[in-house]
């Protein structure tokens, strides 16, 4: 089989898609998580239950949703309710995974999407938490999707918008956040990271094809532990690419 070319975005989508656990409930946000969820549903997670924050649950993702509340988020869905019901479902422990983004992430997986600089006199005003804080607080596990560079992977975020492990082991529980919840993975443009269960610090788990460990460490603004069983993420398969290009995003909105 001839080697195929693919974009960084396509690779990120594939790496993220493979993290979906079948028969799990997942909060899906706009953009890459939507593409990843659709790809997962068509490959390894046919019983995935997508959840969208404004009320859609169990939709059949035939067409790519473009916004978190639009009609495709409850297309042939099992339930179409409202944001309170959805967030409370998460608060009761019914949502297994949530996807998150942000402008900055720190070693404990805390995310910033509020401001760069001082809150009251910001260098840059960012969009705000949106559902991010809720998802990071209330889902069992979260997966962050990030551009990988030193301005984004920082030792301390300017504003903790969405809780990761906060200051480390036990900190979430001490703050009142749900027991045994917290970040699971980071999918970046360079690699896949998880968290060291002992220290709750981010750990390099698998580099993308053609990316060296040094490149990743170099692009990270804090000391990144490297997992003993470090591996390389398999490139997108021909079938994954076909699904992405022909069925999931034929209009090339994202890829």
């Amino acid at each position: 089989m001839a080697e195929q070319t693919y974009s960084k975005t396509e690779l990120m989508i594939c790496v993220a898609a493979r993290l979906f656990e079948d028969s799990s409930t997942c909060f899906i946000g706009t953009g890459i998580p939507m593409l990843a969820a659709m790809l997962a549903a068509k490959t390894t997670a046919p019983n995935l239950v997508p959840v969208f924050e404004f009320g859609g649950l169990g939709a059949i993702l035939e067409e790519l949703p473009r916004a978190v509340g639009e009609a495709r988020t409850f297309h042939k869905g099992l339930s179409a309710s409202g944001i309170c019901d959805t967030m409370e479902t998460a608060q009761r422990g019914f949502i297994d995974y949530g996807f998150l983004g942000g402008a900055q992430i720190d070693p404990y997986g805390n995310l910033n999407s509020v401001v760069i600089g001082e809150h009251d006199h910001p260098k840059a005003r960012l969009p705000g938490s949106g559902g991010g804080n809720d998802v990071g607080s209330l889902c069992w596990r979260t997966i962050a999707i990030m551009q990988h560079d030193k301005r984004r992977f920082v030792s301390k975020v300017d504003f903790v918008t969405t809780p990761g492990y906060l200051s480390g082991p036990g900190a979430r529980e001490a703050a009142g956040l749900p027991r045994n919840s917290g970040p699971a993975y980071v999918v970046s443009t360079l690699a896949l990271m998880d968290y060291d269960p002992g220290t709750c610090r981010m750990r390099l788990k698998a580099v993308h094809p053609g990316v060296s460990v040094d490149e990743v460490l170099e692009a990270t603004g804090f000391e990144l532990v490297v997992a003993d069983d470090l591996s390389t993420n398999p490139p997108p398969s021909a079938e994954e690419l076909r699904l992405l290009r022909e069925e999931i995003d034929p209009e090339k909105l994202y890829i």
Binding site: F52, F74, N133, A175, G176
Partner: protein, 325 residues
């Protein structure tokens, strides 16, 4: 029940439950009266400078765009605004009519961050940003809707969100568990777009309900715009579909394509091109002004706006709609 932490964000809209009860007793008639009026009449009557206002769902989904444009057109100013927004709050920010924000998310979703927000906040034109999550702001409305002063949540905890909000962290007196308390939010005015309403204001929504039920119950004045005005008999034949009962409603505006260029589930899809036009033009203050001139100030009402967009383009959006079943 010890208070462990108190946010120092401004409580932009202080509340008093008994005052809200008195308002609901004296200002909200229980009588079935015809509340049909135009966007211009409704905004002139109920939206005032400095009022605390919010919109539902958000700016590309079932959003009261015809009302949002009319608020700009009538030159309302110094608004205190809550919530998330894509097009509607972005328009208000670009028009310079927002003074304070209980902000959750203002951005352009897939099209990136909001330049209008950046300009308004970084210049200091917006005086205050108090931070909440989407869940938290909805729960604040839910508390008011329930007629109680606060609601607990396990969100917000452990982050900088608490400090920059007006929430408090307490120990639950039953179990000792730490929880955040979110203060009830009573809006002065709410704008909600629905699928259908009767002339009295009984409203039905198709598909997800976002936070319409909560916001409608948490507002002193409620302007509803509807794709369709239906006879009350239709409401009475399916009372279990009523999301907003008439006594909550102050004005009913008939606004077909009221969410355009956003979408309306089962009725029309969203206009990517129309949205991208705002995304591009709003990158600069001048471009945003040009957009406002073209689509808001230059057109005197929603009917002119629709004529300007043209039936052909609207029909395309209808063709794009999600179909039931």
């Amino acid at each position: 029940m010890n208070i462990l932490e108190s946010g120092h964000g401004e409580l932009i809209q202080p509340f008093d439950l008994d005052e809200f009860r008195e308002w609901n007793r004296t200002h909200k008639s229980r009588k079935l009266t015809d509340k049909l009026m135009t966007e211009a009449e409704a905004v002139a009557k109920f939206v005032y400078d400095g009022c605390y206002i919010g919109t539902e769902l958000y700016g590309t989904v079932r959003c009261p765009m015809s009302l949002a444009r009319e608020v700009v057109r009538q030159g309302r100013k110094e608004l205190r605004v809550c919530g998330q927004g894509v097009l509607e709050l972005d328009l208000w920010l670009a028009a310079g009519i927002v003074k304070k924000l209980d902000i959750t998310y203002i951005g352009l979703e897939v099209y990136g961050t909001s330049s209008a927000l950046r300009r308004a906040v970084e210049s200091g034109q917006v005086e205050t940003c108090v931070e909440w999550s989407n869940g938290s702001i909805s729960w604040r409305m839910k508390a008011a809707a329930m007629g109680v002063p606060f609601i607990p949540t396990r969100a917000m905890l452990g982050t900088d969100m608490i400090a920059h909000s007006a929430a408090k962290v307490v120990e639950d007196p039953f179990t000792g568990q730490k929880v955040a308390l979110l203060p009830a939010l009573v809006l002065d005015v709410a704008l909600i777009h629905v699928h259908r309403a009767d002339k009295y204001g009984n409203c039905q929504i198709e598909g997800i309900t976002g936070f319409a039920a909560e916001m409608a119950r948490a507002s002193k004045r409620l302007i509803v715009s509807a794709e369709e005005i239906v006879p009350t008999e239709e409401i009475r034949s399916s009372p279990d579909r009523t999301i907003i009962p008439y006594y909550l409603v102050d004005a009913v505006v008939h606004a077909p394509f009221g969410s355009y260029p956003g979408e309306m589930a089962y009725v029309y899809g969203r206009d990517e091109e129309g949205i991208r036009e705002w995304v591009e033009m709003s990158k600069t203050a001048e471009g945003a002004q040009e957009y406002l001139d073209k689509y808001v100030y230059g057109l005197s009402n929603h009917q002119e706006y629709l004529a300007f967009i043209g039936q052909e383009r609207l029909d395309e959006m209808v063709a794009l709609r999600e179909k039931r079943g």
